[in-house]
């Protein structure tokens, strides 16, 4: 399996998102780099709206991900309640 990765600006909103990722992707590895948080996982990685909403304590809109996103690799599958990246190999 190839690794997917996603990176966020290092700020408060991103911390909740990263916490939600860690909760839902137990094998994900989080790297704290200058001004940026990079998360890697084997094969795929999912961000669930409900988990992030729970972390933040209010309704979180999946598309607001774009505000703090820096980069990602892999194919994207996006819907109202999740955002997923994956490789098909």
């Amino acid at each position: 399996m190839s690794r997917v990765q996603i990176a966020f600006q290092d700020n408060d909103e991103s911390r909740y998102i990263v916490a939600a990722i860690e909760q839902d992707n137990t094998t994900a590895v989080v790297h704290y780099e200058p001004a940026m948080i990079r998360v890697e996982n084997e094969g795929s990685l999912i961000i669930n709206r409900d988990t992030v909403s729970e972390q933040i304590g209010m309704e979180w809109d999946v598309q607001s991900l774009h505000i703090n996103l820096i980069t990602l690799t892999g194919h994207i599958d996006e819907d109202d309640d999740y955002f997923k990246i994956m490789w098909n190999n």
């Binding site: 200058p34 505000i67 990602l72």
Partner: protein, 499 residues
Amino acid sequence: MSPKKLNLKDKYKLLTRDLDWEFSYEDRKEAFPYEEFEGIKITDWDKWEDPFRLTMESYWKYQAEKEKKLYAIYDAFAQNNGQTNVTDARYVNAIKLFLTGVSPGEHAAHLGFAFTGRQMGGIGARVAAQMQSIDELRHIQTQIHAMSHYNKFFDGFDEFNHMHDRLWYLSVPKSFFEDARTAGPFEFMIAIGFSFEYVLTNLLFVPFMSGAAYNGDMATVTFGFSAQSDEARHMTLGLEIIKFILEQHEDNLPIVQKWLDKWLWRGYRLLTLVAMMMDYMLPQKVMSWQEAWELYFEDAGGSLFKDLERYGIKMPDYTETIKQEKEHLSHQAWWIFYQYTHAAAFHTWTPTAEEMDWLSEKYPDTFDKYYRPRWELAAEMEAKGERFYTTGLPQLCQTCQIPMAFTEMSDPTQVSYRESIYNDERFHFCSDPCKSIFDNEPEKYVHAWLPVHQILQGNCGGGGLDKVMEYYHLDDGVANLEFEGSPDAERWKEWKGVA
């Protein structure tokens, strides 16, 4: 009646894809006349998978929020004299290179995506390209604004757009983007949308921005990461476009493969500037060019190509050459600029002893053997008061337009010379891929505006070097030459209260 809940995918389909219609009054080919000449066969635009599903209202909403954050930081940066917080004034030369060499490319990309966003027949693909087009406009404008404050305190920024059309080394990025824009819509999408955005921009932006963060440059790191958030969308578009074209018709494969071979190489050559920035221009280093290449190309790009294998796509043959070149590239590039810095709009310098040790450590197989002696020679000459500026004008590669400085990987002390004869005229190249790009489309590349030849034809102000400098708007002794002793360096010392 309570309204049905629409999910994102259905809603986006209704709000976008369904807007197109079959023409009855005009020939559709008259409205989309550039769709066929490249030989790409599209049988069904409906098979397009929208790579992201932003409606205009969400676009305005999220982008406005990003802009608000960004400009708040710009204002604070200017109000607090943020330029004094960078690690060292040498650092600022990296962002001079960015504004003059990269930012105008954002504008070229903006125009190119406007072209494809108008000309592609499928509405899903068009809208995605249009959003990228307006994003690229955002990037050039936020970059101009980020540098606006630096421009007030350092030399080398103020003539960025005049120089972009004229200065010799800026023809490297300029010709890159014009090559893509003068191609058809599908090649543009593979060139910029896929090869550049998807495969290579991480190498451009992430190291630059981490570099900015490491060196205390709040303005640049902020616009950079903010731009990257758009980039994530662009990358997704790039990946979708290549998959889409390949799935449409098997005849598309050889065309796409040829474009990939061309554009990954063109992009890689362009990134030479980033390589030297990372290894030589950042006072506080982030990672070496080699490490960045391994992380963002070999690792991430490797997964990508594995995924594309199912369509018959192969990693270009020359990736082995690149693998070897990664230990040489930055050193050869900085050496070019070091000796031609009298004709450049930024300063150069010899690496310090600590920096050379860092380079030895990062490049154990090449730095001490091939490159440290160059810097020792330069330092020796400088100590004698003969800071080395080379005379004359370099021979340029007809394709990438970089001076013919790259060497054979089988013998790194031997310059790599390639040539082709076309219609009885001789053309020179730095490498096999640059030669084969020319050989595939000679009628396109004979028309390249090679700065050195233009100077020698008298088209750049005519006369001697002084006229050329005038043509460039490059005041001798201000933005050019060695960093030590430059007005930038003097001002910096004054601010910092060191004699």
